[in-house]
Symmetry: D2
Subunit: 391 residues, 4 copies
Amino acid sequence: MVAIPGPSIIPDRVLEAMARPMPDLYEGELTTVGADVRARLPAVAGTEGEAFLLTANGHGAWQMATSNTLARGDRVLVCESGLFATVWGEQTARSDVEVEFLPGDFRGPVDPDALEARLRADVDHEIAAVLAVHVDTASSVRNDVVALRAAIDRAGHPALFMVDCIASLACERFEMDEWGVDVAVAASQKGLMVPPGISFVWAGERALAAHDRADMRVGYLDWQKRRVREPQYLYFGGTPPIAHLYGLRTALDLIEEEGGLPAVWHRHEVLADAVRAAVEGWSTPEGIGFNIVDPAHRSNCVTTVRTGSIDAVELRRRCREEAGLVIGLGIGDAGAFRIGHMGHLNPPMLLGTLATVEAALRSVDAPLGGSGVAAATEVIGAALAGGEGSA
Amino acid sequence: MVAIPGPSIIPDRVLEAMARPMPDLYEGELTTVGADVRARLPAVAGTEGEAFLLTANGHGAWQMATSNTLARGDRVLVCESGLFATVWGEQTARSDVEVEFLPGDFRGPVDPDALEARLRADVDHEIAAVLAVHVDTASSVRNDVVALRAAIDRAGHPALFMVDCIASLACERFEMDEWGVDVAVAASQKGLMVPPGISFVWAGERALAAHDRADMRVGYLDWQKRRVREPQYLYFGGTPPIAHLYGLRTALDLIEEEGGLPAVWHRHEVLADAVRAAVEGWSTPEGIGFNIVDPAHRSNCVTTVRTGSIDAVELRRRCREEAGLVIGLGIGDAGAFRIGHMGHLNPPMLLGTLATVEAALRSVDAPLGGSGVAAATEVIGAALAGGEGSA
Amino acid sequence: MVAIPGPSIIPDRVLEAMARPMPDLYEGELTTVGADVRARLPAVAGTEGEAFLLTANGHGAWQMATSNTLARGDRVLVCESGLFATVWGEQTARSDVEVEFLPGDFRGPVDPDALEARLRADVDHEIAAVLAVHVDTASSVRNDVVALRAAIDRAGHPALFMVDCIASLACERFEMDEWGVDVAVAASQKGLMVPPGISFVWAGERALAAHDRADMRVGYLDWQKRRVREPQYLYFGGTPPIAHLYGLRTALDLIEEEGGLPAVWHRHEVLADAVRAAVEGWSTPEGIGFNIVDPAHRSNCVTTVRTGSIDAVELRRRCREEAGLVIGLGIGDAGAFRIGHMGHLNPPMLLGTLATVEAALRSVDAPLGGSGVAAATEVIGAALAGGEGSA
Amino acid sequence: MVAIPGPSIIPDRVLEAMARPMPDLYEGELTTVGADVRARLPAVAGTEGEAFLLTANGHGAWQMATSNTLARGDRVLVCESGLFATVWGEQTARSDVEVEFLPGDFRGPVDPDALEARLRADVDHEIAAVLAVHVDTASSVRNDVVALRAAIDRAGHPALFMVDCIASLACERFEMDEWGVDVAVAASQKGLMVPPGISFVWAGERALAAHDRADMRVGYLDWQKRRVREPQYLYFGGTPPIAHLYGLRTALDLIEEEGGLPAVWHRHEVLADAVRAAVEGWSTPEGIGFNIVDPAHRSNCVTTVRTGSIDAVELRRRCREEAGLVIGLGIGDAGAFRIGHMGHLNPPMLLGTLATVEAALRSVDAPLGGSGVAAATEVIGAALAGGEGSA
């Protein structure tokens, strides 16, 4: 079993859908599948804007977002929190734009007040875009996108607001249009339950309009050339990623069969509550603890657990080599591990993960506040009693 | 997740090995695979006797065992315990043999003393064969095969001793030759981790010799015709079960890669200890309890759990419909459920099963002695501390 | 590519359907699939009688046919033609019945007049059953089942008429009830496009009634015990062959999607015509020729080709090792090979087989009357011109 | 069957390798597979330079080639021939470089003399790069890369020489270093037998050095950042394309098992000779004919066939709907179809394609010079006689 924060577990039906002979490129089934997926993508991010599907990983989607909206010399403000906003910023800095980091913290979210203050200070509106992540896979923080948008609005700043929801999409509620996000970026291998290899960019009107002044265009990623209806290969920027397209269509079907995104978000919330109950149960001052201090900012798709005096490396080794469970390694300096709880996951899989971590903790004589998994069964038990169908 | 007492979970590698184009029947790879599997089968049951592989389910293997050894009018003694020995006896009774049942109990093992007494009483040696199961999938009892053999020996009785180890093979230690078993019977879908569709009969010298007087021969199942080396289709009694053969070879490879049968048996014991710790933890006088009274006779591959005042039907429904976990239904009149813990199973899968059952128990407000899964994590934790590689 | 007379090519969708996790045995999807397959089986053989599905290969189905209808001492008349009726007779002779062979020929069909004459001579009606094959996989003859039934009727003989349509079912038209067949026997790995491992017996009223006097009953194969509706495992004689059931359901779906059995039979006829055109094209007095002399008795699912002075062993080796094509070896003394053209087959696959055989014939400097594959393209071309959808 | 010029047929073993659960990203098997594939890639293109593997289609690889080597204002000379060099040029023109086209023809190769003349005229060496394709998938021409290099050398011009071998790699001999190519570009879905989704760029020393002055860097595609050994995700520009990596490793294994690239090239040549014999056989003045006039420039991986007075659309429809064969549509104005003969292909598959096309031609009463497939069997027959193992 693998419980890392992505790639998440791929459902058998998705694997089956991908393992097919190659179809004709120009006629028949493939064009139907491509059109179907394209039509369904905007709703996944809660937008009526354009949705682009790239043969690229998430870094490629980051690139499409910036390449189609920025001009040489533009200034970009990156809201640090955890790791990945920073990496996005560093990638962006390789082009001829100036990247500035709004300092953040590994144990908390972006501060909307700090964002507002910086934007107010930018009286000449040199900042063309604000970059942030929704959930940071390293720290497991969930930023408050609505609050960040409000900060920009309060500052009366025209910068484009671009949000990376790679970790959170199809796990946590995300409403691009309602929340005032101009560009959203995601990838296939987390909540969408498809192997890595394709990624997505959603763009609203203001972002699409910015293409006019963007002067660092990259032919392969130029979204203007992809906005046509036909022929289909233009939308895909060349040969489509056939196997992934079939897999994605099946993944979208699975989401619908479960009851749509609200049902999926609810399941993630219940399962995340179980994870948090377990970590709370294990917690001691010298041992286990949450990385994210404020409970309101702990994400529903990944949890970073600090291990204090416990040897996190040995813990992960025992899980993996003795018990067949792969959990995520901690990123950063402190001892930590991460539990991914995103995508194709139900109570037996999640509780099995938590119980095995608990067994491994016991095997290293870790100080434990109590049985975390027992607490987690109470959370799941309450959900089952509610008859809500958490699986 | 499915945690029923068979068919057990099929490893991905086995499914892959089965999903292949059909090869040539007469030359090349298939003949190699067939010969390889045949050569490895005797050791699986701990015998130097013959191993037969049938395209048939376990009932077909029962049939081969009796059809090749009994003559019309023979008397057979069936050692009741749970359900399946009885069913084997009833099937046998459809041929022209007299079937007698040694009365047993749903909550305990066959009594060796009762067996000895009955055989001593058979002074004319009318009983041609004694039939017993090693582990009964319904009651979850494990009979003491060594003790039963000793009882036969003490009675000085020449009856053939036939043992059904369908549920236990490749889960629990089974040593056909060392334990004095004349015929052993098994199938693919339990410890051997292959879908149902093939089964096995192992026969020692005395059993093979009995073929001479057996006069109810069934051409399809006649083991004498299958004892040749070549051509291979004779061994398989016609067209071989190709997909299953490829799957079985891979399953045998998986067993070897794990360290051979002793390692597999050990893993099952650790995991079964965890199950028993959980049931013990949940137990209350009015609620959860073991079906098998004597701890020494609780099997390592399936556990039948009595539910007392708890509604077992609703419990299973919640597990299945709300949490995605299928556990086995209880067989017999009392409220019960069964947890299969056989075959391709590791700590995350097993603990996930136990924790989900616990959540479901909580959801129906079942009286609980305590957290069973917390107790199970202690068992697994101790095994991990031992560094024994229980997964 | 494999073009042997069974196992035939398994469609990808069938392989996918089989490669699934094991479901619950007692509830849910599996019971639906089992009931669905059972309900659809009678029509596959053109009968309103009972259809039994065994976990066994074709030899097991032969066994069920005879074990449920014959009594000790019965006489059985086996109509020789090619190989497999003889093998069925030999298997039957291992039980306590007397088996008599109506002599046949490797190059032609059973002679209805000879059958009539033998039955007329049986004035005391000692013959309880007449056994014949529809298509013999070795000689590639197709017997005229209607003519054999007429012969029995003309003789006014009450013997049961049992027909093995293992090779022909779902390839050639077969109408059990209309043709007056009492028992039909088939298996999964030919026209039904599922790997070997399950087989079928269809029984009409007279055959079912014969069970009363049948006294060599075999519990595992006793069809009386399988005639109940519930619980389902009784129909399957124990644990069902789950993977094969899922595969078979998909194969039946594929047949329906093609337009039902008449469409499938028509496709086989067109493709067989192409094979025959090719063999005709290659034919020379000293070289290639049909094994079956009378064109009216050449089957639509397999063609046995005599090679005269051409080295058939080297020919097959070149096809296999140099060109990646496995064709069937000839059975019997003369040089021969066999081309299977049954099941999941379309023009590119069949023509590729014929063209590769032609290339191999050229490579050994075989005397050739002309290009067989060119002639085959004319047959297929005419079918395409008819717009009938031969693939 | 699909016989289009890519995506080519994916071997079952590659599909199997891809259909696996996601592994850990940071440790274990995945890092081994990634390192293994990376180490084997340079030899695939015949270079000791760097090999980059992108999550992108072929257009993404084109982009990496130009983005890492060109500076704003550079002039690029695109050698037209068929379609794809032109498309590459048009994509390149979206960046701030000047793109000039050396006029070409749809029925022939790039003219080395014209290239030499143009370069000689560029006395100030304004042309920074010459772009050409090895095989054009639309026209099916194979350009003479060695002759083009010689032309550049004769002109004494320092331009980088970049070659797209997307269609030809692992089908036709390609020797990057020996032939003096500075950058080569390819993708997974042709000779490498993996679904579309990843692509490749190989860069020699001169090209790598050009990165210093390249000022249109694209972070995602910046090859400088990918040249490190560790951590691995830098090489992949973020999350690796896991499923494709496993598939590619297996495809490289298949190539090795066949005897390495020389054996693969030889097989393609034999099969292409068979295609050409068939087209030659069908040819008539008013009907079938080669698109590429000069036999020396007909590629070994795709053949564009002009249909003259024959209705190519109806021909393709019959192949597809009536016979189950998908052939490629013609690109350009004249009636045409294309046969892909690249990748995972053996004589039965190829001859089946040719014979089915022939049947379809007959079905529309096309004028035919003779049986093309009969001629193709002679080519394959001669290869089999040579005992060279053409499959």
